[in-house]
Each structure stands twice: as structure tokens, then as C-alpha cells.
């Protein structure tokens, strides 16, 4: 059997591939030898184990331990006596040590827990994060603070512990347990370190320094008789645990590394440990030796981290590179929020249901990619899915379209127009829709049109969605030629009413932002309105409404409005000087 025939682009390739299962360990796809694959034995760690390790695990354990102690206090109220006895052993010892000099020192440390000092730290941090547009860290900071303040407020009242029965030498407020001032300072310092300092020595040093400082402040407050030792240490465990876990979950270092530069991307860092894990995983799972990984075309991609994999020189294939898309929990969440946003703005346009896991997301994209190839829609050949971290990170590997260029940057003649419109015709005939036809996704390679980024593709789309694909392709072609020529060529493959429907369905929301900005530029510079020209050439068709109301949309809209009001009330509360910060 000719190995070149195994290309998924060839009819019957899938059937022949199935023959290889368990039989052969080596074959080629699009000229790349896929050989020597290795199955990961049971018990062996994944290439990149889950990131909740080290410090995070410790803090998670400490956080859970604190919660269990709190629950135990309620289950067995008499257990409070044991804590009280231990507390008074330490308290009595410290109170007996009181001198004027020590009291002055303790008051100095205690000043750090003052409301205004903490407020200045928090507002300063938030303003800094706004300045560098690090919104993930901004919200993670707010969430961590809200959790600690909210939990402290509720528990203080629910537990209702009296202050130590010793002369109290400093200001205090409310019940004693847990210590709110210590919790407030600890979560603030922890969250500041995680949001402002890059991962590495500086952050570790500041965290250790903050830990030592917090211990001194805690001892000072116990010395001053403001709190019991257990009030202090519970806050010292709980608040940093909340800070660490919040940042690990909402702004993981791997996805949102802190750098002292403005702006942030949602792309994963592929250097260091992850880079090695990717090389290792591709070698094990696809049998391909990768020597270098570099980000590729990230500016046009928000839903994944696109990469170019450089392959080790190999005489068995002519290719030097592969294209890959890295998907993670972060991208899954982004996809969910994107869909929620679209549902609120426009209603459920089509297939706005969210994916339940990263695995489902990549499985769907892989399926669509293969379906497109099987339907002879020209697109990059898929090489398969590579598992980086089970259920959390996957790499989709496909052919690198070397020598291709965006259609809007290429020479477009009648043949190219026919070819591009023919691709849409094939999509229609195959019952498929690409759903993201934009300049960056329509490439020209060796004079033929190739579609990339088929992740949004769908099977048996609505007629409206198919019409939108046609309109978007015609707009892209007209950007490089003129509307009349594109319209005339389109009439060779589509009915005039199909074209009329396509532009009746076209709204700003249906045009990808890249096309929208190109259209706006053309209108501004040459006064040409392509959409209007197409509408004038095609038969009259009533505009197709895309706004759809549903209970889900109503609920989401109300929820978003409630959240906006909540944020507004926090801002107003802050301005009036009585808020949480």
C-alpha cells in the first residue's frame, strides 16, 4: 500500500487507516511519518500534571482544615473550651511579659492592621492592575478579598466569641474569632504578591517576608490582648489559602503570567515545563520529534493558543513544521463566557450551548476537522489530539500550511473567486457551515483556497447560518476585487435569491470583527459600502431578524444587570468611604 494514500484528504483513507489499527506502527499523513507511538502505562504521570501542587496543595489542605475546625465548633460547642484553655496558656504568658517598650513595639506592628492602611494597599493595587490592564488579576484580587471579608464577617457573628478576658491595650471591633484585621492584611499581602510580582524569586521573597511580618503582627495583637492566639492563627491560615487558591483558579500563572508590561493575552506560556511537556507528549503520542515550539498567529486567535512546532530533520518527510492549537480550562471558560455574552446581546443565535470539558471541546474540533476533510473541503490535515494534562489541557496537531497567505493579501483573480465560492458551495452541499469565514481563516496556497480554524464549524446548520457564510466569503473576495465581479461569479454557483438572503441576514454581529474593520476602512478611504452594493445588486429580501428572546437569555440578562448593580454599589460604597476595601 502506498503510504501517501493514507492522507485523510484522499477518498477511502479512513477505511484504510482502520486497517492499520494494531497492525502497523508507522504511517504517513500529508508527508509526515507518524511512527513509534508509545502508550502511557497506567500510573505514569501525564506529561504536565495538574498545576495544583506544592504550595497550592498545602494551602488547600490548611484551608480545608480550618473549615473543618469551624464546623467542629458548631457540632460540638463544648469543644470551644479546649481551644480557650490552650489560648489562655499563651495569653497569660504574653500578658505577663508586658512592658512599656514592648507595648510600643506591638502597637507599631498593630498599626499595619488599621483599616486605612489596608485600604490604601488595596486601592493602590487595584489602580495598578487597572493601569496595566490586567483584568484577570484585578477580579481575582477582588474575589479573594470579598471571600475573606465576607467569611470573616459572617463567622464573627455566627461564632460570637468574646475578646480575651485580659486588659485590652488596643482598638478592636466586633467578636474575636476569626481575626478580621489579620485576615484582611494577610489576604491583601498575598493577593498583592500574586497579582503584582512575577513568578520567581521576588515573589517568593515577598511572600516569605509577608509571612514573617504577619506572624509578628499576630503575636503583637495577642500580646495587646485584642485577640486569642487561635483567632489569629486561623486567620493566618485561612486568608492566604484563599489568596493562593483564588489566583490558582482564576488567574493561573501558566495562563496569565505576571510581567511588568502593560496588557495581557489569554495565551498559555509554552516555554519551560509546559514546552517540555508538549515535546514529550507529541513524541510519545504521535511519534513526532519536535525540536522547537513557538507562538504563531496569536493576535488572530482568542479561543486557543496557536503554535508552530518545528520538527527534527527527517529524511522521511519534507515538512519542517506542524501547526498546533493548545486548549486549556482557561480557553474553555473563555468560550463559555463568550457564548454567555453573545446570548445576552443577541439571543441564542445557533449552537450556543457550552462545552462541558476541554476534552469535549477538542474532540468536537477534531471531528469537524476530519469531517471537513472527508467532505473534500480544503483544509489542513489533522494529525490528532495530544493529551498534555488529562481533562485540562490538550493539543490539536495539524498540517502547517507552509507558503500560504491570507486571501486579502493575495492576488485574487476570477479563478480564485470561483474556487472560494466553490468552497462555500461544497459546505452547503455537505450540510456544513464554517461559521467563522474571515480574512484570517481563508488562505490561498498554491493558487487554491484553503479554510483554516474550523473549530466553530457545525453540521446541518440553519439556512441563516449558511447564508451568512456566503455573505462573509463574498465580502472578503470583494475587498480584493469589486462587488460586481464577485456578484456575477457568485451567480454561476448560487441562485440570486440565495445571495439576496445572504445579505438580508448580514448584520454587524454576523460579520467577523476583522471583516467589519476592513469594510469600515474601505468606506472611509474610498467611500465604498460593499454590503450596500451587494444588496442593491441582488433581488429585494426582507432583513432577517436575529434577535431571539428566551427565558435563558432573560435570566442571563437579569443576572448580568444584578452583577453590574452590585459592582456599582461597591464603587459607590467605596466612594462614600464605607466599603469592603
Amino acid at each position: 500500500m502506498d503510504r501517501q494514500d493514507q492522507s485523510p484528504g484522499n477518498p477511502g483513507a479512513v477505511a484504510r487507516e482502520l486497517d492499520l489499527v494494531g497492525g502497523r506502527r508507522e504511517f504517513k499523513i500529508a508527508g509526515i511519518t507518524v511512527a513509534g507511538r508509545r502508550r502511557r502505562p497506567s500510573g505514569e504521570a501525564a506529561p504536565l500534571p495538574r498545576d495544583l501542587r506544592g504550595a497550592a496543595q498545602l494551602w488547600l489542605l490548611l484551608g480545608v482544615l480550618t473549615l473543618l475546625i469551624w464546623v467542629w465548633l458548631f457540632v460540638v460547642p463544648t469543644s470551644t473550651q479546649w481551644w480557650t484553655d490552650q489560648d489562655y496558656k499563651v495569653l497569660t504568658w504574653l500578658v505577663d511579659m508586658r512592658t512599656d517598650a514592648l507595648t510600643s513595639v506591638a502597637n507599631g506592628f498593630n498599626f499595619l492592621t488599621s483599616e486605612w492602611f489596608i485600604r490604601v494597599l488595596r486601592i493602590g493595587t487595584l489602580l495598578s492592575l487597572i493601569f496595566v490592564k490586567r483584568w484577570r488579576h484585578f477580579f481575582a484580587f477582588l474575589i479573594a478579598v470579598l471571600i475573606v471579608e465576607g467569611t470573616g464577617d459572617v463567622l464573627q457573628d455566627m461564632i460570637g466569641r468574646q475578646r480575651p478576658l485580659v486588659p485590652i491595650l488596643a482598638d478592636w471591633e466586633g467578636a474575636s474569632h476569626p481575626s478580621r484585621p489579620l485576615g484582611s492584611l494577610a489576604v491583601t499581602l498575598g493577593a498583592m504578591a500574586y497579582s503584582l510580582l512575577p513568578h520567581g524569586f521576588r515573589r517568593r521573597a515577598v511572600l516569605v517576608g509577608s509571612g514573617v511580618l504577619m506572624l509578628l503582627v499576630a503575636v503583637s495583637r495577642v500580646y495587646l490582648g485584642v485577640e486569642h492566639p487561635s483567632d489569629a492563627w486561623v486567620s493566618l491560615l485561612f486568608a492566604p489559602a484563599v489568596a493562593v487558591l483564588t489566583f490558582r483558579l482564576f488567574a493561573p500563572e501558566a495562563a496569565f503570567p505576571v510581567t511588568w508590561k502593560r496588557g495581557v493575552t489569554a495565551h498559555l506560556d509554552v516555554s519551560g515545563r509546559r514546552g517540555e511537556a508538549i515535546k514529550h507528549a507529541v513524541r510519545d503520542q504521535l511519534g513526532i520529534e519536535v525540536v522547537a515550539i513557538e507562538p504563531f498567529g496569536q493576535e488572530g486567535s482568542g479561543g486557543s493558543t496557536p503554535l508552530r512546532l518545528e520538527l527534527a530533520p527527517d529524511d522521511s518527510h519534507p515538512e519542517d513544521y506542524l501547526f498546533a492549537k493548545l486548549y486549556s480550562q482557561t480557553h474553555l471558560r473563555s468560550d463559555r463566557w463568550y457564548k454567555v455574552g453573545r446570548t445576552i446581546l443577541y439571543g441564542a443565535l445557533e449552537d450556543e450551548l457550552r462545552f462541558t470539558s476541554v476534552r469535549r471541546l477538542v474532540e468536537y474540533e477534531d471531528y469537524i476537522q476530519r469531517l471537513m476533510r472527508d467532505s473534500e473541503i480544503p483544509s489542513a490535515a489533522p494529525f490528532g489530539i495530544v493529551e498534555i494534562t488529562p481533562e485540562r489541557e490538550y493539543l490539536m496537531v495539524s498540517q502547517f500550511l507552509f507558503g500560504s497567505e491570507e486571501l486579502t493579501e493575495a492576488e485574487v483573480d476570477v479563478a480564485v473567486i470561483d474556487d472560494a465560492l466553490g468552497v462555500i458551495r461544497k459546505l452547503w452541499d455537505s450540510g456544513l457551515a464554517h461559521r467563522d469565514i474571515k480574512p484570517a481563516n481563508v488562505m490561498l496556497r498554491d493558487g487554491r483556497v484553503v479554510l483554516i480554524d474550523v473549530a466553530f464549524g457545525t453540521v446541518r446548520p440553519s439556512p441563516w447560518r449558511q447564508a451568512v457564510d456566503l455573505a462573509n466569503m463574498m465580502v472578503i473576495l470583494a475587498l480584493r476585487t469589486d462587488a460586481k465581479l464577485v456578484y456575477e461569479r457568485a451567480l454561476l454557483q448560487f441562485d440570486s435569491y440565495d445571495i439576496a438572503e445572504a445579505f438580508a441576514a448580514t448584520r454587524s454581529v454576523t460579520l467577523p470583527s476583522q471583516s467589519r474593520s476592513s469594510l469600515a476602512l474601505l468606506k472611509r478611504e474610498k467611500g465604498v459600502d460593499l454590503v450596500r452594493e451587494f444588496n442593491e445588486m441582488s433581488p429585494h429580501a426582507e432583513p432577517i431578524s436575529i434577535q431571539r428572546w428566551s427565558t435563558r437569555r432573560l435570566g442571563l440578562t437579569l443576572g448580568a444587570a444584578f452583577l453590574a448593580m452590585l459592582v456599582l454599589s461597591v464603587v459607590i460604597s467605596e466612594l462614600s468611604g464605607g466599603g469592603i476595601l
Binding site: L73, F74, G160, R161, L165, V166, A170
Partner: protein, 286 residues
């Protein structure tokens, strides 16, 4: 951990904590069977030298929204109706009583002062005749309007026909105690009109009809209210009742406050703590 397991655990924790017997609570007054709760002890700790701290005997109907705040130097109970606070009770180390008037406290070692502005539910109108014939007219008006209500508040009419005093002095005297004064003269009898004056500036309008006068009273009447402070001073501290009530709540707030609130003998609690080896104010432990 599966998400559903996590949710179950959180719900379980919430149930356990919600059903737990811990909590700050509200400072309850001493009964033979009761022990001081956390709020009572925290009140004592807020002002450790105070002889008494405020406590709650039993909550009246509509008095159940209570917020207890405590910090060094202040223990405060805030009673709310809806979102409005109508009474704040504060324990502080000292208080400024200003021009408050002393009244008996009924508790040994406690001095009580009050500084209250009160608008009761009845509206008083004094009718002053200016002339012989108008005296009869004034009496007739008072009789005709007896039992009248404005804004559901009874209006009490009284006639001051004491000819030994001039109209002006009678008007001034009436305005000192009542908000409204009607002056009627012989010319008003046929037209059933009057001149109305009202506090605070005593300015009025002449020749207005009785119904119009009642409408003006409705517009100008103050709402029933009870505002001001009661101060209870004792060794080591002061308890202030700060009233800000209006409407039906104001009609009985003074009696309700007396019934609802009491004084907890903090000194006994402090002494008990000292006997147990805990010294709250730095005196030598016995």
C-alpha cells in the same frame, strides 16, 4: 472531588453552622436562669469600667430588627423599622448631656436626663375672639368642629375669651403652647371666616373659610414624632437612648423603650470574672 460532592459538603457545613448554638446574639437582661451571652460580655469588654450595660428584656412587636455593634469604647444596639433606624442605644465611657433635664431614674446610682422633642398625636387649635359678638361665634365654631380629624389625628379646639388680656398677648400665649391660632372678629361672623396664625413665625392669613383653614392645618401640621435623647449616667459609663421615631411608632415609643430595655449589672459580671482569675481592667488579680 466531584463537584456534586463539594456542593453537598458546603450545604452540610452551612446547615451545621446555621443550627449551631454559637453566636454573638443580643445582650439579654439578667434573669435567674440566664447566663451572660457573648454580646453581654463584649459590651462589658467595650467599656470595662462601666457599672451597667444595656440589655434587652423582651422585644416588642415591630422591634425585632436589631443590630448589635461593639468596639473598644462603644457597645450599640440599633433598632430598625424597614431601613430606618428609630432608636440607638449606646454604652460609652462618658456622654455629653448638654441642656437635658434631669428626671428620676428609679435606679440607685444612676442619674437620668432627657432632652426630647415630641409631637403628640392631637393637634391643638386655640380660637381667640376679638369682640363681644365673636365670642359666641368662637364658642359655636369650637362646638361645631369638636371631633374633627386631620390626617387621622384628632383636632382639639379651645377658646380663649379672656378679655382681661389683649388679643395680641393671648395670641402670643397660645402660639407658645399650640401650633395653630384662629382669630375671629365681628366681621368674620357673617362670612364664617377667620384669621389663622401658626408657629413658628406666627404669620397668618386673614379672611379664610373654616374648611380652608382645616386644609392649611393638614398641610402645615408636623408628623407625630419622638426625637431626642435619654441619658443614664453611672460610675464608669453612660447609656444613651437616641430616639428618632415618627408616625404610629412615635406614639408609644417611650413606654415601649422602658419595657424593652434594661440595665445589666456589668460590675457583677466583672467581679465574677475577677473571682475566676480574669482581670479586665488591669487591676491586680486576686
Amino acid at each position: 472531588m466531584r463537584r456534586s460532592t463539594g456542593v453537598c459538603l458546603v450545604v452540610l457545613c452551612l446547615l451545621i453552622t446555621a443550627c449551631g448554638r454559637l453566636g454573638t446574639g443580643l445582650p439579654g437582661c439578667r434573669t435567674p436562669a440566664s447566663e451572660p451571652n457573648a454580646a453581654t460580655v463584649l459590651s462589658l469588654q467595650a467599656v470595662p469600667e462601666a457599672e451597667y450595660s444595656p440589655c434587652i428584656n423582651s422585644l416588642q412587636l415591630g422591634w425585632d430588627e436589631v443590630d448589635f455593634q461593639v468596639e473598644r469604647g462603644l457597645a450599640q444596639l440599633e433598632f430598625e423599622h424597614g431601613i430606618e433606624s428609630f432608636l440607638e442605644v449606646r454604652l460609652t465611657p462618658s456622654c455629653e448631656i448638654g441642656g437635658a433635664i434631669e428626671v428620676p431614674s428609679g435606679i440607685e446610682g444612676v442619674s437620668r436626663h432627657e432632652n426630647v422633642y415630641q409631637v403628640t398625636d392631637a393637634i391643638s387649635v386655640t380660637i381667640i375672639p376679638d369682640g363681644e359678638r365673636s365670642s359666641v361665634y368662637a364658642e359655636g365654631l369650637a362646638a361645631d368642629l369638636a371631633g374633627a380629624h386631620v390626617d387621622d389625628r384628632p383636632v382639639v379646639f379651645k377658646v380663649d375669651a379672656d378679655i382681661d388680656f389683649s388679643v395680641r398677648s393671648r395670641v402670643n400665649k397660645a402660639l407658645f403652647t399650640d401650633q395653630f391660632v384662629w382669630i375671629v372678629n365681628d366681621l368674620d361672623i357673617d362670612d364664617r371666616t377667620l384669621e389663622m396664625r401658626a408657629t413658628p413665625d406666627g404669620e397668618g392669613a386673614r379672611g379664610i373659610e373654616v374648611d380652608d383653614a382645616l386644609d392649611r392645618i393638614e398641610d402645615m401640621s408636623e408628623e407625630i414624632q419622638y426625637r431626642g435623647q435619654w441619658f443614664f449616667q453611672f460610675e464608669g459609663g453612660c447609656i444613651t437612648y437616641d430616639f428618632d421615631a415618627e408616625g404610629t411608632l412615635a406614639t408609644s415609643i417611650a413606654e415601649d423603650a422602658e419595657a424593652t430595655l434594661g440595665f445589666y449589672p456589668s460590675s457583677e459580671l466583672r467581679d465574677a470574672a475577677r473571682d475566676a482569675g480574669f482581670d479586665l481592667i488591669g487591676e491586680p488579680t486576686q
